[in-house]
């Protein structure tokens, strides 16, 4: 066999010296954050839809408030923490996550068909949507920018350890990785491993330890 640069390695001759600048250049070209053109375009679109009588501005405000204030990763943290302290709840969560999550009052849009994936010392779960931005809104809120971005969507299924490294996460030797590509309406919630040194903690205190990234699989929980 011939020798070539390793597959799935740190990259190529251009990975170091030049790529950083080019990535910045490309990122600069990406329309979005703080882009005045998009701001005007969306403002015009809203005016148009209001004028045509298709949307009610008050409803827009309510939607925004819902996802900015009410629905977010603290819901998922509650689910996870409860599963740590209540073995029967944990079993219900692993058997029928949609129903178990609904017990706590969470559900609805983008969480109609939930599956919980429990991390263990042997297996680490990571969730991605390579085709768009599927994400379990009722338990995690809106997806972070990186979850919807090309770097994450392209690499998670091919090089999940490289992705984890971008988050500063290194899994122990012997931990297998299972990546779940959300290609249908099923939504996945990762249940991270309970951190050591939390014996006897109550659900609220435990929930405060659970990060959003740990419920996607891009984070792990350290001892408090």
């Amino acid at each position: 066999m011939h020798k070539t640069v390793g597959n799935f390695g740190a990259g190529t001759a251009y990975g170091g010296r030049v790529a950083a600048g080019d990535t910045g250049q490309a990122a600069g070209q990406v329309a979005g954050h703080g882009d005045n053109t998009m701001a005007l375009r969306v403002e015009a679109l809203e005016s148009l839809l209001v004028e045509k009588g298709y949307v009610d501005p008050a409803a827009l405000d309510t939607i925004i408030t819902t996802y900015e204030r009410d629905v977010g990763p603290r819901n998922g943290a509650h689910v996870v923490a409860l599963s740590w302290v209540d073995p029967e709840y944990r079993q219900r969560l692993l058997t029928d996550a949609t129903a178990a999550i609904a017990e706590l009052g969470y559900g609805g849009r983008q969480g109609e068909h939930m599956v919980a994936l429990e991390n263990t010392p042997d297996e680490h779960h990571l969730v991605v949507c390579t085709l768009c931005s599927c994400y379990p809104w009722p338990v995690l809120g809106l997806p972070p920018t990186w979850y919807k971005s090309a770097p994450y969507r392209s690499r998670a299924v091919l090089d999940p350890r490289g992705v984890l490294a971008d988050f500063g996460v290194t899994l122990p030797e012997g931990t297998r990785i299972t990546v779940h590509d959300s290609t249908a309406e099923v939504r996945y919630l990762v249940v991270p491993m309970r951190p050591p040194g939390t014996d006897g903690w109550d659900v609220e205190a435990l929930a405060a330890l659970v990060t959003r990234d740990s419920m996607i699989g891009t984070g792990v929980l350290a001892a408090p």
Partner: protein
């Protein structure tokens, strides 16, 4: 379709940039883009699969230079025009050129219930499932110009059924006004080396959710369990 949205396995996009948990929007227009996208779906002129198809048909140069909310905005503009709710001229001129059609409008009062209810994709079981948990399968090779949820990297690959989810609406049909044509939906597990080759990490597994028509019976040899 093999559009720019089908990103799995692509390279060259640089590192993932983490973000704090409380950073929910980066500009006010993102808030409005989210809310508009949700509210404009209320008249029922398109479904989730048509929305996804509207986004994936953006020119790849546009898709890859747009942030995700910008992709949503451009997808929404296409849906509004293709559904006839708004004309292309109105989008271009950024103003109404005539009255709107009668439409069911989402009110503020309805928002909590609508968001808390969602839209289920499962349908009654109308025939037995073709595959059971643990069965070897192989994904089909297919490159439709229309919408599909079988990513390019997972076509023609041997896997094993890991979960059976019941019968779900088929996006390939639903995105094109061809009805729901519901099918059994499965989670299928692949060995990383089956997807990416012998140089892939030996301890990588990837799952996708696949409708029954995406799958053919597999053979034990080709399955990850015997690898």
């Amino acid at each position: 379709m093999n559009g720019a949205a089908d990103l799995g396995g692509m390279m060259g996009f640089g590192p993932v940039v983490p973000e704090p948990e409380d950073e929910r929007f980066h500009a006010d227009w993102e808030r409005r883009a989210l809310a508009l996208t949700l509210a404009a779906a209320r008249p029922g002129r398109w479904n989730i699969d048509q929305s996804r198809h509207a986004r994936e048909t953006l020119h790849p140069a546009v898709y890859l230079t747009s942030s995700y909310y910008a992709i949503w905005v451009q997808g929404l503009e296409r849906l509004l025009v293709s559904s006839g709710l708004v004309s292309a001229e109105e989008i271009a001129q950024r103003r109404a050129l005539g009255p709107g059609e009668p439409a069911r409008v989402l009110t503020a009062a309805e928002v909590p219930a609508v968001l808390a209810t969602g839209t289920r994709a499962d349908r009654p079981e109308h025939r037995p499932a073709a595959f059971a948990v643990g069965e070897p399968v192989r994904t089909v090779v297919r490159n439709p110009t229309g919408h599909t949820r079988l990513p390019r990297y997972a076509r023609g690959k041997a896997g094993v059924v890991e979960r059976v989810h019941g019968v779900h609406v088929l996006p390939d049909a639903h995105a094109h006004g061809l009805g729901e044509q519901p099918e059994w939906l499965y989670t299928v597990r692949f060995d990383g080396r089956e997807l990416w080759g012998a140089d892939a990490a030996a301890d990588l597994t990837v799952t996708i959710d696949a409708w029954e028509s995406y799958l053919e019976p597999g053979t034990r040899e080709g399955s990850p369990s015997s690898a």
